[in-house]
């Protein structure tokens, strides 16, 4: 009898994991290379959410999440290879890098395998347009960010702008959206310049702007590290005093350590921690889990991503069928993430999320608000 009991107990233990379903999530993200600045904090946030959910017994108390991680080295070709490997490993959800271009490299694999793919933090609204039904973004769109920052600039009484953009990637063309909204709301665009990603020297552009007869009230760019600090310092050194507006790409510690040159810079990002709001709660969790303070909102964006997956699996009642999960994600409404509420219903995969406006003040972030953009002003996605 005793032996029978022992055997039953062992049998029950062995059977237990088989009964609870496991959701396999494949992470094909950039843990090294240029995009690591964004993807690596996002994945830190992903881990916090997954650990939290698994510690509570899985999604809905039944479905455990298993992460399979691949580093794509910020490379488009490597992204598609990793995506294929993960599809072969039987994942139900794929997570792709923080830029539309490498994410799009995996799109053929994603579509033919019919597995939902979510980019960690790509913000180009063209991503789900090109990517089709299985491609989702996890960040406020470039056109929405630009609408919020342009509206803010106009409210501040800024009448003229100059934009500096790079045709090298979808994301770095955000200033074109900004110019469109700025003009539509009665402002004038004095001119534009292009740069290339990784360009070290911005002195020629800075000198040209400094020599303009009418100095622009606002200069808008979506350049990010290491280009943004170089550009900003070159502009300030050339004597340009215009308000600088950037975007989420500069939501990193470097921007806050630039001293006088960085003072007053305004940028749009995914959220801001206020006492007791979900982002502040997340930051507390992050510190408890890692021992470090969260330095960027991208940690919380990773948490959001898993919250979206969790909500979708709750809708499918624990099913890990990729097609069911895709349909569930596409119909999610008002999911509470760490940075914002997230809605996919009624969109093409570009979520409706809040955009926070942040200003650099004395090396710290000052919250300017999270204004809702005027839907009529949001420019249509632009193919670059």
């Amino acid at each position: 009898m005793k032996r029978f009991l022992t055997l039953t107990a062992i049998g029950a233990l062995l059977a237990a994991p088989a009964m609870a379903d496991t959701l396999r999530v494949g992470l094909a993200t950039a843990q090294t290379g240029g995009l690591a600045t964004y993807d690596s904090p996002v994945i830190d946030g992903v881990h916090i959410a997954v650990d939290e959910i698994n510690a509570a017994g899985g999604i809905g108390g039944t479905t455990m999440i298993e992460l399979i991680e691949k580093d794509v080295r910020s490379d488009a070709a490597q992204t598609s290879i990793a995506a294929q490997e993960l599809v072969d490993a039987g994942v139900s959800v794929l997570v792709l890098p923080c830029d539309a271009d490498p994410s799009l490299a995996a799109i053929g694999i994603v579509s033919s395998a019919q597995i939902p793919a979510i980019s960690t933090c790509a913000s180009s609204p063209t991503l789900p347009m090109i990517g089709g039904d299985y491609m989702f973004a996890n960040f406020p769109g470039d056109n929405v960010q630009a609408t919020v920052s342009a509206a803010w600039a106009r409210e501040q009484g800024h009448d003229s702008t100059y934009i500096i953009y790079s045709p090298d990637s979808q994301y770095t063309t955000m200033p074109l959206y900004f110019a469109e909204v700025f003009e539509k709301s009665g402002g004038t665009v004095l001119g534009q310049d292009t740069h290339s990603i990784g360009q070290q020297d911005f002195s020629a552009i800075a000198t040209r702007i400094a020599s303009l007869e009418d100095q622009p009230d606002v200069i808008m760019t979506s350049a990010y590290e290491p280009d943004f600090p170089s550009m900003l310092k070159a502009l300030r050194a050339a004597g340009v005093t215009s308000q600088i507006i950037g975007s989420d790409g500069i939501d990193s510690p470097t921007t806050f350590s630039l001293g006088d040159a960085g003072e007053g810079v305004v940028f749009t990002t995914a959220g801001h921690a206020l006492d007791g709001n979900p982002l502040a709660e997340f930051n507390t969790k992050f510190e408890a889990a890692t021992g470090n303070k969260s330095e960027t909102v991208f940690n919380a964006v990773g948490y959001d991503l898993i919250k979206v997956v969790e909500a979708a699996v709750l809708v499918t009642e624990g099913s890990t069928d990729p097609q069911k999960i895709r349909d569930a994600i596409a119909n999610l409404e008002g999911i509470q993430g760490a940075t914002s509420t997230i809605t996919y219903k009624g969109t093409n995969g570009m979520p409706v999320r809040q955009v926070a406006l942040i200003q650099v003040k004395g090396g710290e972030r000052e919250y300017l608000g999270s204004p809702s953009p005027d839907a009529a002003m949001i420019p249509a996605p632009r193919m670059q």
């Binding site: 070290q200 040209r208 290491p226 280009d227 170089s230 050194a237 350590s257 630039l258």
Partner: protein
Amino acid sequence: MELFLQQTANALALGGTYALLALGLAVVFSIMGLINFAHGELMTIAGYVLMYCGIASVPFVIAVPLAITASVLAAVAMERIAFRPVRNGSGATMLVTSFAVAMILQVLFQNLISARSQPVLLPALLSDSVRVFGLVIGVNKLAAIASTIVMLVFLDWFMKHQKTGVAMRAAAEDFAVARLMGIRANTVIAGAFALSGLLAGVAAVLWVSQRASVDPLMGFMPVLKAFIAAILGGLGSLRGAVAGGFLLGFIEIYLAAFLPPEMQEFRDPIGLGIVVLVLLIRPNGLIPSATLKAEKV
């Protein structure tokens, strides 16, 4: 006119930085026939030293010599560990070794420091600008021009009046004969690497003071520019490297400054097109080295 002078000052500063970078490559190439693609990683090392000094609140005036020293030491160690065992290998062996060294260092930076870029705290003075003869020039531009001049004068003196420098020139001309005259190969080669480390360190301080951050892959872009400049000037020729660096700086700045707005998107291809054009006219570079000749067939 004022705009033109202003842009010329920008070109001088950028060209000077490129000249220092190209010189670093040329010093080693002239002696060993090796293009050291790990030269950029020496800059990254100097950049990380600046970063850690910033975190430890070490004053910038001390951080700069520390960073340059680190780069010199790393260059010497690189020669001793990686390049000495393959010194008698073919050019291709040494080239591949240099790529391997670069990659290994990048992976070490990624795993031991961080894959993400790290902010470097810089004195506010470097972001200021001063008026010189009616031109507004950034302090870091002035620093770039001044350090280029100092380094070039130092290098000229070192090569002409220092024993090691003279030995290096002799070795560059004909290593075998130089050794027969009693010049020690190890000293000359280690000296060349130390010198290239010094140049990389100075260039790194100038480079990082513009971008205010360091990341594991930051060495790639400068070494690429240095390579273009060194080829443009004439591979293996030190004067050529300086000329190539300045010419590349001038091409980049003048194109960015004076190309019509609708053409700006094609600035980089046009710039490289000009480089190719120069090489078509002078296939051995602007100031070719006396010993290396590419033949036109």
